[in-house]
Symmetry: C2
Subunit: 212 residues, 2 copies
Amino acid sequence: MSSPVHPGTDRPRRLDARRNHDQILVIANAAIEQFGAEASLRDIARKAGIGLGTLYRHFPSREALIEALMRERLDTFSKRVRAARSLADPGAALEACILEYLAGVMVYKGIACSFMGAFQDPTSALHAACAAAQEQLDALLRMAQAAGQVRPDVSVKDLLALVNGLAWVFDQGTHAPEQRTILVQVVIAGLRFQRGPSPPAPDRLPGSSHAT
Amino acid sequence: MSSPVHPGTDRPRRLDARRNHDQILVIANAAIEQFGAEASLRDIARKAGIGLGTLYRHFPSREALIEALMRERLDTFSKRVRAARSLADPGAALEACILEYLAGVMVYKGIACSFMGAFQDPTSALHAACAAAQEQLDALLRMAQAAGQVRPDVSVKDLLALVNGLAWVFDQGTHAPEQRTILVQVVIAGLRFQRGPSPPAPDRLPGSSHAT
DNA sequence: ACCTGAACACCGTTCAAGT
DNA sequence: ACCTGAACACCGTTCAAGT
């Protein structure tokens, strides 16, 4: 996949430190890809061939490590949501962004949990990147609501909770990739603006008297 | 709350063993209520005043312990779903069962994850109780689908995944109890049968030209 | 300025030794 | 038939000592 080491993002100045920094990210990327967001930090340090304290020096918390691995992805996501605001159909644009968010959050298992924590906790190393994405999503959501395409009583917080909930479900391994679509469809359908009060429970649909 | 010790469910015959068994459940109930499904087993044994091996003897796995704490609730849930099948409106009955499931799974934090695992893993101590509930829900779901109230392309597996996803979201602490309703409503609305192909994206709803 | 690894306080799980 | 706790192999986090 794409390199987890990105230029110009808090990389140390001294050569040895920079090499350690980068090596940690390469190994952490592999480890978290394999074991999920709860991968052993000790193991990462070991495989990276550095001391455990060195890992903590570069990334003082697990969130800081995940942030370094996800920052670029989150930033481009935010930008793409911003761009999506100028599309003709905000409802369809929002739907596309939801799918994109899901694709992004699924790169590592267990990341949805980290994100949910980051949204709430302003002190989290992941907070800034998540808050930026949330802000853009909020603007797009309101557009879709103003256009009458999304029910007006959901907030971005609700939206992110539902989508992260889906990501968590996918992490559980109950649904193969082809089986996931229906779950996303249900949530998206539920977000859609519903005309009139909840349909008056049709006793039976026309032409469905069903076998005896 | 209600006593976690129930009569006639695999309780040992010898007096000392039975006392230990019951004491473990009392302490485990308190610990899992406080710390969630991942509460320290060592801590539970300590607080129960027994050896760690004794805990393992009575409950060979964390799932076995959770099963003992949840069995009665799960059993009565299954029975209530079964009874709900004879209600006039299967769609409303299913909705009520979903709310009841949510209420049940929320008694301990992190239980949704255990349940998702138990559904998949036939060797889990929790499997039987979960599978029984799933079976009843399946029957009720099919009735609601036959009545045209629920989209026909969702399975019980999908339904349980969505609902456990909601439970997981609630566990994250982003949504206070009053804020949870909207999330449940979105999912339930999404499950409803949708007439015609997805509404052709109304350019604007009648009477919503909105403040320039 | 940066690296190292021992030290501390925890885990879950197993199992030989007891009563 | 049942209980016990040491033993093992892990954690995350901190910090004195090094270069």
